[in-house]
């Protein structure tokens, strides 16, 4: 049992086996942080890359994320003990008036797979709630999702209020009707066409010390 086997288990979608593999490596003296970074997060980076290149699709991405999560469940208590910090903190939500969440949930999965801590505010989230989340957490990125042109204007309002609260917070937007041009017009820091792109941008936006 090795970290390489854990890495491969994620890529092979071995959700039922990965817990045993992680336990085995830990029992052989493996370091939790190394298992996390090299055995669980690294293959999710590869999954994102393959998705972006058109070799993997949503079912495989979901399956890989579930597999990674199953491995992470075994590690979590040890990571908490060692006070391991997440890669970054992202607040995610679908804007006010909009109940759609599939895209947001896929983004959440890929961000967690990439080592981010995600504060998921759910759907129909008023701008005040995003601001509150920014106040309560050391947030790096706020991710806004909208699936209706009627709710897209709430993205601009939320962005302005979030940045008024903390100008250092970066805002990323996405959702089926949202375009790169629209994102630029409202002053968003990034636009993501899909979950893999969101994860890629998040890694670029949060520079590791």
């Amino acid at each position: 049992m090795s970290i390489e086997a854990i890495y491969q288990a994620v890529l092979d979608y071995q959700k039922d086996e990965i817990g045993g593999l992680v336990t085995g490596v830990l029992e052989n003296g493996g370091e939790p942080v190394a298992i996390l970074n090299e055995g669980l997060i690294a293959p999710m980076d590869e999954v994102g890359k393959r998705f972006g290149e058109g070799y993997l699709f949503i079912p495989e991405m979901l399956r890989a994320a579930q597999t990674m999560k199953a491995g992470l469940e075994v590690l979590k208590p040890l990571l908490v003990e060692s006070e391991t910090q997440p890669r970054g903190i992202v607040v995610l939500g679908t804007v006010k008036g909009d109940l759609h969440d599939i895209g947001k949930n896929l983004v959440k999965m890929m961000l967690e797979g990439g080592g981010f801590q995600v504060v998921d505010l759910g759907v129909d989230v008023p701008s005040a709630k995003f601001v509150e989340a920014v106040k309560e957490n050391r947030v790096h990125i706020v991710g806004l999702s909208a699936l209706l042109t009627t709710t897209m204007p709430a993205m601009k309002e939320t962005l302005e209020k979030v940045k008024a609260e903390n100008p250092a917070v970066l805002v990323m937007v996405g959702g089926a009707p949202v375009t790169r041009e629209y994102a630029e017009s409202i002053g968003a820091d990034a636009y993501a066409a899909d979950a893999a792109e969101a994860s890629r941008h998040a890694k670029e936006m949060v520079v590791q010390p």
Binding site: F57, P59, L62, T149, M152, A176
Partner: protein, 391 residues
């Protein structure tokens, strides 16, 4: 800058004069012929423009959304009112609307203004796992028709507003009402694939795991479901005199799943439904949301000049033209975002580009999917003006 009002007014007054002389029946016939010629690759006198909307009718006429949805008669009247505000158009894609009707396509609950949402907000389909993995065996056991009836009653409409359920509402002569205005209505019956129904009922996340973990079971259930799907849509369209049956795909888009999965779980069923509609003598209108580029070539399996492919802007319509331009009538794809947030000049320019490059044969100008509820009236008028300015 184009003056859409000026261009438009000229167009309207011409049609009004024609109306007095020829009657709406004649205009109806002329518009219907224009559309059928576009589908059949016969040179139309100009590229037709079709309007597709529901929520837009409420906002542009100042009708509260809840009121718009209160009855088929109200929805139809409001949509006709909206058409008159736009001023022209060769047809309406669908002539009435029911929010709970979406449950029959999505196998999901719909949140409705005035019931679950503030009365001025737009309805929304709710993603949740209403169907369990155990239900697959139940479907095989009692058959899809019995299962779906039970599923809708007990799990979808259990908290619905009874007065808004289609079976409790008085029907309306949609074709007749629009016909009095000289406007053809295209779609009379809707159908989608077993994949869409199961994905909606199970929720996307759960269903996609079913595809990986229990594929044989899913195929067995899909084989049962598909036998029962097209008949209702065909009967509705044929009995009432609609020329078109709507065949929809959104989560079945090739961009969502691998080629192997698409080949196994989507295409055989999609193809069967389209062929059934063709065999009934109707025009299948393939409403394809999201990105279908990878598999555009497959649509050449359908006979030339018999099918409409309507794209929503996610599939590159110019690529679709390369692959299917001599074979299948394309429809679309003025983007919802442009209609809501763009300018009349932008809409007119893009619509004209579509007419030039996707037309003139085998093309129908339309929005990509619905004209959004918050589309600016002048933008919709600009889209129509681009079509009318050809003559």
């Amino acid at each position: 800058m184009i003056d859409t009002k000026r261009n438009f007014c000229l167009s309207i007054s011409t049609k009004e004069n024609e109306g007095e002389l020829l009657g709406n029946e004649s205009i109806l016939s002329e518009r219907t012929t224009r559309i059928k010629n576009a589908v059949a690759f016969k040179s139309p006198d100009r590229v037709p423009v079709v309007l597709e909307y529901a929520g837009f009718a409420a906002l542009v006429t100042g009708t509260p959304m809840a009121e718009f949805l209160s009855s088929p008669a109200k929805a139809t009247q409001t949509m006709i009112q909206a058409y008159k505000l736009v001023g022209d158009g060769d047809a309406i894609n669908y002539g009435s609307f029911s929010s709970y009707g979406l449950s029959y396509l999505f196998a999901a609950k719909v949140r409705v203004p005035g019931v679950d949402l503030p009365s001025d907000e737009i309805w929304q389909v709710l993603e949740s796992e209403l169907m369990t993995r155990e239900d697959y065996d139940r479907i095989l056991d009692i058959g899809w028709v019995n299962f779906f009836r039970e599923f809708l009653t007990e799990r979808v409409f259990n908290d619905a507003e009874p007065s808004l359920l289609p079976e409790n509402q008085e029907g309306v002569d949609v074709l007749g009402l629009w016909g009095e205005e000289g406007v053809p209505v295209l779609s009379g019956g809707d159908v989608t694939t077993p994949f869409e129904l199961l994905c909606g009922g199970r929720s996307l996340e759960k269903f996609f795991m079913d595809l990986i973990e229990i594929p044989e079971k899913v195929v067995a259930v899909m084989d049962e479901i598909v036998q029962h799907l097209a008949e209702g849509a065909i009967r509705t369209a044929s009995d009432r005199g609609y020329p078109v049956a709507w065949v929809g795909g959104w989560r079945t888009a090739p961009s969502m799943i691998s080629p192997d999965m698409w080949e196994r779980f989507v295409w055989p069923y999609f193809r069967r439904l389209v062929n059934e509609v063709l065999e009934a003598g109707l025009i299948p209108l393939l409403h394809l949301d999201a990105n279908w580029e990878r598999e555009l070539g497959r649509f050449r399996e359908f006979p030339k000049g018999r099918v409409i492919m309507a794209l929503d802007g996610d599939t590159d319509i110019f690529k679709a033209k390369e692959v299917l331009g001599d074979h299948m009538c394309l429809m679309g794809d003025v983007p919802a975002t442009m209609l809501a947030f763009g300018t009349p000049d932008e809409v007119y320019a893009y619509s004209s580009k579509l007419i030039r490059e996707i037309g003139p044969e085998g093309f129908i100008l339309q929005s990509g999917c619905d004209i959004p509820a918050n589309a600016k009236l002048e933008n919709v008028q600009a889209m129509v003006a681009a079509a009318m300015d050809q003559s």
